[in-house]
């Protein structure tokens, strides 16, 4: 807390693309208000000026994928009263978790001219595998209005209004015509948590699962349906093994499909 009573907000980045931090900055109409309500004490994507911890609320973007990050997150946890993981990387490992199924050393050898300079962990993992997390906000990237809701809720001491049902609920409220039923397209909406506003189906594409598994994902049944629709086992597996592919239900579905 600052002397003027405003809570201190910190935003940290781990292995990630910065898209979720950008979602915060994309809150153009609300950013000034956020700045009045809290002290933005640490947010390198926005400003070099920093205020030392401890912090009242810490938002963490990115997965833990290097030995350095593994230590850093523990330190950050100690310095934040409330720690919120934001985005697919911080909550499920993200797209870089695709390497978790392979030998990471092999990748390093192929990609880098001097592999010996690279220090990395075998697996890219979500923040919650390393420290206790107070809330996980899903999305690739997160929905900026959900970020605002989570922040508002934590500052007010109430539970954030973040639904855990499927993307289909949002898709139908919007009045979008289902792409599975009307086009025979594969869509992860039924097993994915709402939050994006069912963007992809409204552009005639199946859901990519950016918001990770919903509260009770029946991945076996949906996978079976994909196969019935003529999707190959490999392609169906790749659908589950996408942006949140390392989240357990999706990981299992992908592995079962690949045999």
């Amino acid at each position: 807390m600052m002397k003027d009573g405003r809570p201190k907000l910190a935003v940290f980045k781990f292995s990630s693309c910065d898209g979720c931090q950008l979602s915060i900055l994309n809150l153009e109409d609300e950013l000034l208000e956020i700045g009045q309500r809290v002290t933005i004490a640490y947010f390198l994507e926005a400003s070099r000026a920093t205020v030392d911890g401890p912090y009242d609320v810490g938002l963490v973007e990115g997965s833990i994928s290097t030995p350095h990050e593994k230590e850093l997150i523990k330190d950050i946890r100690r310095r934040c009263r409330t720690l919120i993981a934001i985005g697919a990387c911080a909550t499920a490992g993200g797209i870089q978790a695709l390497r978790n199924w392979k030998d990471v050393k092999e990748f390093i050898g192929v990609v880098y001219a001097k592999p010996e300079y690279i220090e990395t962990l075998e697996k890219a993992t979500p923040v919650s595998e390393h420290v206790k997390v107070d809330f996980e906000l899903r999305g690739c990237p997160v929905n900026k209005y959900q970020i605002l809701e989570v922040l508002t809720a934590f500052l007010a001491g109430r539970k954030p209004d973040i639904p855990s049902y499927s993307v289909c609920v949002e898709c139908k409220r919007k009045g979008t015509v289902c792409v599975v039923v009307s086009r025979g397209m594969a869509c992860l909406g039924p097993v994915t948590q709402a939050g994006c506003g069912a963007i992809c189906p409204s552009y005639g594409r199946g859901c990519y699962g950016c918001f990770g598994p919903m509260e009770s994902p029946n991945v076996e049944s949906l996978a079976e349906r994909f196969l019935q629709l003529g999707v190959s086992r490999r392609d169906a597996a790749l659908m589950f093994k996408g942006f949140t592919g390392w989240a357990e239900p999706f990981r299992k579905a992908g592995e079962v499909l690949e045999g």
């Binding site: 609300e30 208000e33 956020i34 009045q36 309500r37 605002l148 809701e149 922040l151 508002t152 500052l155 007010a156 209004d161 639904p163 855990s164 049902y165 499927s166 289909c168 609920v169 139908k172 409220r173 919007k174 009045g175 979008t176 015509v177 289902c178 599975v180 039923v181 009307s182 086009r183 025979g184 869509c187 909406g189 039924p190 097993v191 005639g204 509260e215 009770s216 994902p217 029946n218 076996e220 049944s221 949906l222 079976e224 349906r225």
Partner: protein, 378 residues
């Protein structure tokens, strides 16, 4: 008006006249139109917006449009939308509250007039059911009441059933008996494209007198009733409604509930497309400074685990419990609660279920193995 009066006949090209008369009377006209590969409901400005010459082919979890050669205006059956969308909207702001304690209800425009074009017989019954639930109880819903106050119902009988329709079993179609202002039966004959018109109310009578019309002759009346009898015959899907309530009450522990749950995604699509499912969730949103709060209402679904969350946890944890709860409500507990089943046999939940779960088949399975009880393994 009893509907016993001799039906009238209008030419198909005069349908547009009905539409413009409704607009002149101050109605916003909603009707079927093609969008993204389906017949959906939205504002229609003229007959040109209707799905002219469009039909559909439906199956469990499948829907495709097809071209018809006959230029029918109402040659499709129900699509993913229902009139619930306009009477009981998916998202509504109920009120705003400011920190000085002022509560400002977002009053619905009480003078809005909506005309629904092409309301199917099963949909008329669905609206009657919503009326009962949202209007006629002890606490009428003001949002629904404001929207329902002046609705013109232009019904269209179903001369061709859809593959997933079972309105004949539910006693709601394919012919509308009551509850409409006007009811049309589309006649496509070599000598011309026309509509047989039944007048249900004074409002309907007024509207029809605004376009050229004449009394229907015996041939036309007979043709319409033949078409509707044929439609009833061609309806493949059936459900045995006699004794259904008791059958379901007897089989709360039937193993089939778990079998459906293996397929059911708990995605909620069936409840969203169902023209009678009315459940909502209410949530408050505050601004950062707690000076301003809003209360919103959104369609919710009993297929969500969170939906049954109370202190200590959700009541319906398993998907099996959630599917059972939904089907039981539609076909059994609704009867005790509101006097009729909550299902009108429109088939939407079958078509729009991504995995094609079919309520009529699930009921059949329970009936076939009546009395079988789930064996507990723990």
């Amino acid at each position: 008006m009893s509907g016993k009066e001799r039906p009238l006949l209008i030419n198909a090209q005069d349908f547009d006249g009905l539409l413009s008369s409704l607009k002149k009377l101050g109605y916003t006209t909603y009707g079927p139109t093609v969008r993204d590969g389906a017949v959906i409901y939205d504002v229609v400005d003229s007959a040109n917006d209707l799905p002219i010459g469009i039909g559909d082919v439906q199956g469990p979890g499948s829907y495709r449009l097809r071209r018809r050669e006959d230029g029918a205006l109402f040659g499709y059956v129900v699509g993913p939308h229902s009139w619930k969308r306009f009477l009981h909207p998916p998202t509504v702001k109920l009120y705003t509250i400011s920190s000085n304690g002022k509560i400002l209800a977002s009053v619905e425009n009480a003078n809005q007039k909506m005309a629904f074009l092409g309301v199917r017989p099963c949909e008329l019954q669905a609206i009657r059911i919503l009326d009962k639930v949202l209007l006629e109880g002890e606490y009428p819903d003001p949002v629904y009441a404001a929207r329902r106050k002046d609705v013109f119902l232009l019904a269209v009988n179903c001369v061709e059933p859809g593959e997933n329709c079972f309105c004949a079993s539910m006693g709601t179609g394919p012919e509308a008996k009551e509850g409409f202002d006007l009811c049309l039966t589309e006649l496509l004959r070599p000598e011309g494209h026309s509509f047989l018109v039944k007048v249900g109310t004074e409002k309907g009578k007024e509207l029809i007198s605004s376009v050229p019309h004449r009394q229907a002759n015996d041939d036309e009346i007979e043709l319409a009733s033949k078409l509707l009898a044929l439609s009833r015959e061609r309806m493949k899907k059936k459900i045995e409604i006699n004794g259904l309530k008791d059958l379901l009450y007897r089989n709360l522990e039937h193993p089939h509930w778990d079998e459906v749950a293996k397929r059911c995604l708990a995605c909620g699509n069936c409840t969203m497309v169902c023209p009678t499912c009315f459940c909502t969730t209410v949530s408050e949103a505050t601004d950062l400074f707690l000076k301003h709060a809003e209360r919103w209402r959104r369609w919710d679904t009993c297929f969500s685990r969170e939906f049954s969350y109370i202190h200590g946890g959700p009541i319906r944890y398993s998907i099996s419990a959630r599917y059972r709860h939904w089907l039981m409500h539609k076909m059994a507990t609704w009867v005790d609660q509101f006097g009729t089943p909550g299902c009108v046999g429109c088939g939407r939940c079958i078509t729009w279920c991504p995995v094609g779960i079919d309520i009529t088949e699930e009921v059949k399975q329970i009936g076939k193995r009546d009395g079988e009880v789930k064996v507990k393994v723990e």
